[in-house]
Point group: C2
Chain length 372, copies 2
Amino acid sequence: MSAYEERRKKLYDWMTAEGIAMVMFEDFEGRRDSAIRWMTGQPSDALLFLCAGGKSLLVPWDANMAAIYAQADAIIPYGEFDRDAINALRGAASLFKIPPGSRVEISPVTSYTGFLKYIEEAGDYDILCRNRGAHGEVESLRAVKDEEEQGIYRKAAAITNELIDLLEDKVTAGRLPTEIDVAFFIETECRKRGCEGTGFETLAAGAARSFGIHTFPAYTAEPFAGPGLSILDFGLKYRGYTTDVTLTFTRGPLSAAQEKMLALTEKAYAKALSLIRDGVSAREVSMAVDTVFGKGRKAMPHALGHGIGLEAHESPALRSRQDNTWQLLPGMIFTLEPGLYDPIHGGCRLENDILLTESGPEVLTNARIIRF
Amino acid sequence: MSAYEERRKKLYDWMTAEGIAMVMFEDFEGRRDSAIRWMTGQPSDALLFLCAGGKSLLVPWDANMAAIYAQADAIIPYGEFDRDAINALRGAASLFKIPPGSRVEISPVTSYTGFLKYIEEAGDYDILCRNRGAHGEVESLRAVKDEEEQGIYRKAAAITNELIDLLEDKVTAGRLPTEIDVAFFIETECRKRGCEGTGFETLAAGAARSFGIHTFPAYTAEPFAGPGLSILDFGLKYRGYTTDVTLTFTRGPLSAAQEKMLALTEKAYAKALSLIRDGVSAREVSMAVDTVFGKGRKAMPHALGHGIGLEAHESPALRSRQDNTWQLLPGMIFTLEPGLYDPIHGGCRLENDILLTESGPEVLTNARIIRF
């Protein structure tokens, strides 16, 4: 059984237990869902229907792409359904002989107005649109990486670490003087090593721009790693899975305020890592980090971290908001990325990718604060 | 009055006429909405509240970024609302003294489950979530580019055309031999000329991969513009606005099947352009193109075109689906991009950006099929 089939099998079992006849997934512009790649290999732009009987139908926008990458029991191009999702749902229900009245689940990100349209045009089925339904189940399944995925991540992390070392050498030697030089270096070198590209637009912010959490534009022709604090946030996409690390380059002499920001960030990172263990509440880890910053009379303007995988941001969430109920479990891969940002002194962030194993956290990447 | 204020003013007038007290816009990961950049200049990650009295509140994730780029009557960081959208909505309603029971409109892409949460937590207001409400109005307003935007597009198109000429020279001379060479050339040269970057990931597909509508991965270390048909689809982002063009490079000798695909694509493009005029139905133009391909016993697996602007895909839609009710109007800027794709013979697409003026279509870009 392929990894894709094993993943689908987990959902079929869940569907049977829950009495769901069919589930629909959507991966289109404006509502991306890597669940389809996770369960079939199709990299983008498709619908996927799973039937509790254990059959799958992929409806790709680009049938040629599906012929190369996708594995499903049936593949019918989207054009056959006039590129209309509800048409496709009706077609899938007919193919799978789903009786009227059956429970058919659609994506919880379906808009309110879109949902009304399903009720109108496919109301002979019992259409479900729920946060903690089939899509939530897949989100939870995806949060814990299986063996194949952990293997991919070890490789992706090894390439990322190789690039981190090269970046340290070249940046400190002045051989990548601008933000654009740094970003292109990563883009070229990762592809040479078999990556699909970067997992998101590289953020390279020289000292004049590092105050931005996600600097805008992502990189420019301005200097990188001049005097002060520079941030480099990047991820490599390998077989669909992205790493996500942030280096801070500091070039002295630094002000007392800058030194304090760096020290607090490293302290917060160490605190977070010390708390990572099987079963810990992600929110509690985040709140402990907030406390570290709070004691230094600072506040981090973003979350502590997030799961990574086929998407740069996925479950579990590591944030201190009250609605965060994630528990960290063995097999989860996530970032820890404390940071501070100041319009005058600039910004710093330290971000690594962590695999939680039965025996504790394994830091897959070796991003660091590089002083020179 | 700044262009941002003028744009907000149009919506205030509409809100007053429609009896809407407050409108909320959201631009976050998973639900991007450039309407906020259009009305304030804030490039990303924010909420925007407009009050019928003519006041605006921006709630940016990154307050430092807002201090540089954004213009609004009030700016309060998202963190002040615990980074929770409904909290922020309640805060804005309180700031603007919106009485309970007033009509408050939220984004039509709000999920069904999300909508239920608004009803629960902000049900003292009359929460509206509609396709043809305030957000639809902004979509329609944005589809017609104002003078400032047309000026930006003339400049963006000039840079795009400069690069097209350079690409023709360098590719046919063998100086950009791989897909990655072509993609990086565009990325570097556009930034040198003042662009923010590319408007979307450049799709560079050599002859072995051009059968894909949106090739995957976007570009690789494989050869570009070897014998057969190669596709290069790219856009430059200038002051937020993206162009979107596709060149096809053909290197002979070509098969009869390839020649037929090219001839049909050029015929379809000419047909489409000949029909563009003030008031024409976008769907009728698309159906005329479908007919051209149909007569050649081919079918185009995607839409004819789409509006461009702050997003690579925006209104109007140029497609033949029955639900397409867009009329083309002066000031609209959109692509025409007929194409054909074959797993054996490869693919071809010709795509240019058109500004519809009172006197007819003006082709802003000069993408073409380049035979060598």
